[in-house]
């Protein structure tokens, strides 16, 4: 059974069809890439899956449950986490607090305990902090836990965003251009990290990426979007030779 099944998904903004009849199937523990030229509807797909947008038509089935049209926080609770193309951290807060907020959905104490500062509050806060630090450690951000998120260098902000997404302990992790703005070395490290996370946390990963070395190097299957439509699907080597894909990226041959 597939973990995520998207059937004939449609979304239009006014007269523009951003996503048109797209169907995708992702099995558990796969690493899938979604590629396509600018404006192909990739990020719209992500927004539809995570509930930021509501689809016009079609359904999204996650772990056998229909999730289309649910609000983002419910989708998150079902086990889908994501990062954003243009980093969306909680900029004025510390690195630690950024991760702690993502841990909120399983906060171990009640509102009453909060107001009265009952022992369960102190115990719970300690547990949250430990969990957050543990995650930050994986991403080499432990030493920076008290820094304000917006003061981190770009690459670390990207890593923090992934750490924050993982804090919601997802089964499906969606990464929107994780390597954007990184140099080849950083991209290499990121590839290794993504692979490691996938094994360690038993994740299924769906990513949008423009960096073809990353896509071809780590992804098991690739979906290609163009003008909101799915134009190809397959293993990296199949996609590399696909005429339609080459045309979408480079334009048609003249004559």
């Amino acid at each position: 059974m597939s973990l995520l099944e998207i059937n004939k998904l449609n979304k239009a903004f006014g007269g523009l069809s951003a996503v048109l009849d797209v169907s995708i199937k992702i099995k558990e523990n796969e690493l899938i890439a979604l590629i396509g030229p600018n404006g192909a509807g990739k990020t719209t797909m992500f927004n539809l899956i995570t509930g930021v947008y509501k689809p016009d038509e079609g359904d999204i089935i996650f772990k056998g449950e229909e999730i289309q049209g649910l609000p983002p926080y419910t989708v998150c609770k079902k086990g889908i986490a994501r990062t954003f193309q243009n980093i969306r951290l909680f900029n004025d807060l510390t690195v630690l607090d950024n991760v702690k907020i993502a841990l909120h959905k399983d906060v171990p104490y009640s509102m009453l305990a909060t107001v009265l500062r009952l022992p369960s509050y102190f115990k719970g806060e300690k547990a949250l902090e430990n969990k957050a630090i543990e995650l930050l450690d994986i991403f080499n951000l432990k030493d920076k836990k008290d820094e304000i998120a917006s003061n981190l260098p770009y690459g670390e902000q990207r890593r923090l965003e992934v750490a924050r997404a993982l804090a919601t302990h997802p089964t499906l992790l969606i990464l929107d251009e994780p390597a954007a703005g990184m140099n080849p070395n950083e991209t290499q490290d990121l590839m290794k990290l993504i692979k490691r996370l996938k094994e360690e946390f038993n994740l299924t990963i769906l990513l949008i990426e423009h960096d073809m070395s990353l896509v071809m190097g780590v992804c098991e299957r690739i979906y290609v979007l163009d003008y909101g439509q799915l134009i190809a699907e397959g293993k990296p080597e199949e996609i590399r030779g696909n005429k339609k894909v080459i045309e979408a990226y480079l334009g048609e041959e003249v004559g």
Binding site: T50, G51, V52, P71, P72, Y73, C76, K77, A81, R82, F84, R88, L89, F90, N91, D92, L93, D97, K100, I101, A102, L103, H104, K105, V107, Y109, M111, T114, V115, L116, R117, Y121, G124, E125, L128, R164, A165, A167, T168
Partner: protein, 317 residues
């Protein structure tokens, strides 16, 4: 670990000692008459303003939702508590609890539809609701219509005021420094990111709004039982605006900032009471200067604690 606990405990003890000292000294000065009637009124306004500013700061500063209807909730608290104590002759404590609950319920009823709006739209909607509350009170004969209720027994004293301020600050600070508080702050920081991280932003906006309204109700109840008379006109838009000025001046998202600003503005108002025209000019000048030179407010979103005093002390040495 032991050291941290010890530190926390010693900080707690220092806090308690300072607060007890402030309470006793002021009480003593009131008893022997060093603080006369004029100072007593100023002190009362100060405490009420602190409660109002700290509670509005939860909505405007921490949750980032611009609300301009705080005086409306204060009005509900004042009227409900006065009706309970004056008409039904129940003790003050029940009146205050009733006032808080009344304001909180109003906050919920108003919050659920309006908090779908953002920024300016929310400000206008809450402003409108604040005015609706005032106009409604003006037209309910049971509570005296435009003339309001007069001849209210004065029951608010320094102990009630001081206790209420402490309660408000502690409860709001406890909420802010918890996972619930972080969820509230995440709404201000980035609503979409918060939602995607599993925070039900609508719930937390309403929660902050209801808690803010609840304490505005407390302030209203204390107000009603000090100044002998309450009338709808007291709780007009300008009152909401006054509270907003304190919050902005103190720094959006700083409880200690709100407290400092509330004290400062109350003292300024009292000092310039003889020159009402000059007062407005100075008021405006201060605001303009703060906005130019310190747009984040006196405290920004930082807090002033005993530990920060300790840090300054440590650096000096």
């Amino acid at each position: 670990m032991k050291k941290i606990l010890k530190n926390k405990l010693s900080q707690f003890i220092i806090n308690v000692i300072i607060l007890a000292a402030i309470f006793t000294i002021v009480q003593y000065m009131l008893n022997v008459g060093i603080l006369n009637r004029f100072y007593e009124i100023t002190l009362t306004s100060m405490c009420i303003n602190i409660i109002l500013a700290v509670s509005l700061n939860l909505i405007n500063g921490f949750t980032g939702q611009l609300s301009l209807g705080h005086a409306g909730f204060m009005a509900i608290g004042a009227y409900v508590s006065v009706v309970i104590t004056n008409y039904f002759e129940l003790p003050l404590i029940i009146g205050l609890i009733g006032g808080c609950l009344g304001a909180a319920i109003a906050g919920f009823i108003i919050g659920v539809p309006t908090l779908r709006l953002k920024g300016d739209y929310l400000a206008i909607a809450t402003l409108g609701f604040g005015e609706i509350i005032r106009v409604l009170l003006q037209n309910i004969d049971y509570v005296g219509g435009p003339a309001g209720i007069s001849g209210i027994a004065k029951q608010t004293n320094w102990a009630w005021l001081f206790g209420s301020v402490i309660l408000t600050v502690i409860i709001i600070q406890n909420i802010i420094n918890s996972s619930y508080g972080r969820a509230i702050i995440s709404v201000r920081e980035d609503e979409i990111a918060a939602e995607v991280m599993g925070v039900n932003t609508t719930n937390y906006k309403v929660l902050a709004f209801v808690i803010g309204a609840l304490f505005a109700g407390l302030a209203g109840g204390l107000y009603g039982h000090y100044f002998y008379i309450i009338k709808p006109e007291t709780f007009n838009f300008l009152k909401s605006f006054d509270i907003l000025v304190m919050v902005v001046l103190g720094g959006l998202g700083s409880t200690t900032g709100a407290i400092i600003a509330a004290i400062f503005i109350t003292v300024l108002t009292a000092a310039l009471q003889a020159f009402p025209a000059v007062r407005m000019i100075i008021y405006a000048l201060i605001l303009i200067l703060v906005m130019i030179y310190r747009p984040q407010g006196l405290m920004g979103n930082k807090e002033l604690t005993i530990r920060s005093f300790g840090k300054i002390w440590g650096e000096k040495r």
